[in-house]
Amino acid sequence: MIDQLKRAYAIAKKDVRIYYLRGPVIIFGVLFPLFLFMAFMIGRDLPVEFLIAGLLGMTVFFTSTSVTPVIAPTETQTRNLERLAACPVSISTILLGDMLASVLFGIGISLVPIIVGMAIGVTVTHPFILAMGIILAAFCFSAMGLIFSSTPTSMTSTVMMISTMVKFPLVFISGIFIPIGELPQWGQVLASASPLTYITDLCRYSFQGTNYYPIWMDIAALVIFLIIFMTAAVKLHDKSLPKRL
């Protein structure tokens, strides 16, 4: 078990070296949420705490889902996957390694809106909850990215297209631009099915002290989504790996 964890860490280090500066990671993980946020923020008279909390939720979502979908198709194309599959590591170890790289990227980039927020005078009322929420969400969204990358293709663009199709609608139903309480009934039901809702709620609580769901429910929801996503990712990759060789 410890051996496999060490090996997952080795895989994560490799991913950091190779994939952080890849075009799709920068475009979908950094530029995309920034532009999307600016498009919604400009011209709207919303409190800065509300905006920063939304931006943070969206950043952790986009960054954490941008690394994992790139790895599997790229390694299929570059024919590294068979070499990796021949090593004494399980599918779960490979995925855990990829997830770790993605989590670190998600957390690292998420520090930017926090620092920007603090620089313009926003205070973090609940830093511990915020840190825990971001870490948990980064794991959860990275596992979600692994599900996208289980498509047995060597085309990164195909995986990115699928992931964008899912990610975009989630942004609109997760209380980032419109508070959940102001959504119609059906919107609120939809919002509860999105993991992004819960991290956004945690961010609002951390910055503004207001929350829609109880904090324990936000955390429990993120943990449940993480378990579901990771279990599904391991099963799907186990099935798709032979098709990639």
Binding site: K13, K14, R17, I18, T78, R83, A86, P88, L245
Partner: protein, 310 residues
């Protein structure tokens, strides 16, 4: 350990939908052997190697590596193998050194040993000067040498090489073949898949020929050549033309063919045939210009067994 089988394959089958890629394979590879695995394209070689190395799961059957069930204990079994997959690649965005260290980490090799081993291997493969260069700029031969070095980072007991010299220049191929022999001398068991008959002939103690997912023959190279009897022939030419029908009636002749000014007599007994031909030349007052006995090559065996040529 000495007499133990390194690899035991029992009733191994792989289905892809309705297609049977590997059909109830049974064979054993002895410890310390170089085992050649030959077959035409699409015969099921790579699928078999992938099952032996635990990369894909068999539909049915069992593979044991040094007594470890690959299906039940994949991690332990993989730990003692070195693998050079057919179309694999090193990480081109990493340096040669980092690729080797990454392998060491995946096999749990302690850091100090990993550094020492990487240095040794890089020197052995003449890559040490390039250790800090990204693999992206390596030639095909250099990449293949690095991939072989990567497979040796864990000091494996069994080495699986799937077409290791495919597409390489003569020097690189030779270096890899020499390395295979050297590793075998050190006691490593080698499972070699190759298209090159001469390579298999030179390197392997035992060869299995696979066709349509089944083993067509399995034996030592020389024994395999003998098994395909009737392919031996005596080639003779005389100073004046002769009547071909004289030879059909000679005892032991299976077939007679003209090949340019030479006669080819197919037989199971080339030694006896030579005596008869000498007698024939004396009694007909003919002078023998050339006389050669030819045994089948591994390629002849392969072609006969895989039935690609009439």
């Amino acid at each position: 350990m000495g007499t133990m089988n390194a690899i035991e394959v029992d009733n191994l089958t792989k289905l892809f939908g309705d297609f049977t890629a590997v059909n109830h394979l049974d064979f054993k590879v002895k410890n310390g052997e170089i085992f050649g695995f030959l077959g035409p394209n699409g015969a099921g070689k790579t699928t078999t190697v992938r099952m032996l190395t635990g990369i894909i799961k068999p539909s049915s059957g069992k593979v044991s590596i040094m007594g470890l069930d690959v299906r039940r204990d994949p991690i332990k079994a993989k730990q003692i193998m070195g693998v050079v997959p057919e179309l694999s690649n090193a990480y081109t965005e990493l340096t040669a050194w980092n690729n080797l260290q990454f392998m060491a980490e995946l096999y749990g090799v302690p850091k100090k040993d990993a550094r020492q081993r990487a240095e040794e291997l890089l020197r052995k493969f003449d890559l040490y000067e390039r250790k800090d260069h990204k693999v992206r700029i390596f030639s095909k031969g250099m990449k293949q040498k690095l991939i072989l070095a990567m497979s040796l980072m864990n000091d494996p007991e069994i080495l699986f090489l799937d077409e290791p010299t495919s597409g390489l220049d003569v020097m690189s191929a030779r270096l890899i073949k020499d390395m295979v022999l050297e590793l075998n001398k050190e006691g490593k068991t080698i499972f070699l898949t190759t298209h090159y008959m001469e390579e298999a002939n030179q390197l392997c103690n035992k060869i299995a020929v696979i066709n349509h997912g089944k083993i067509a023959a399995i034996d030592a190279p020389e024994k395999l050549k003998m098994k395909v009897g009737g392919l031996e022939w005596v080639e003779i030419s005389f100073n004046t033309p002769v009547d071909i029908s004289d030879f059909h009636t000679m005892p032991g002749v299976i077939d007679v063919r003209m090949s340019g000014d030479k006669l080819r007599l197919y037989t199971d007994e080339p030694g006896r045939m030579v005596y008869q031909l000498v007698d024939y030349s004396r009694s007909n007052d003919l002078e023998i210009v050339t006389l050669n006995t030819l045994t089948p090559t591994l390629e002849d065996v392969f072609i006969k067994l895989t039935g690609d040529v009439k």
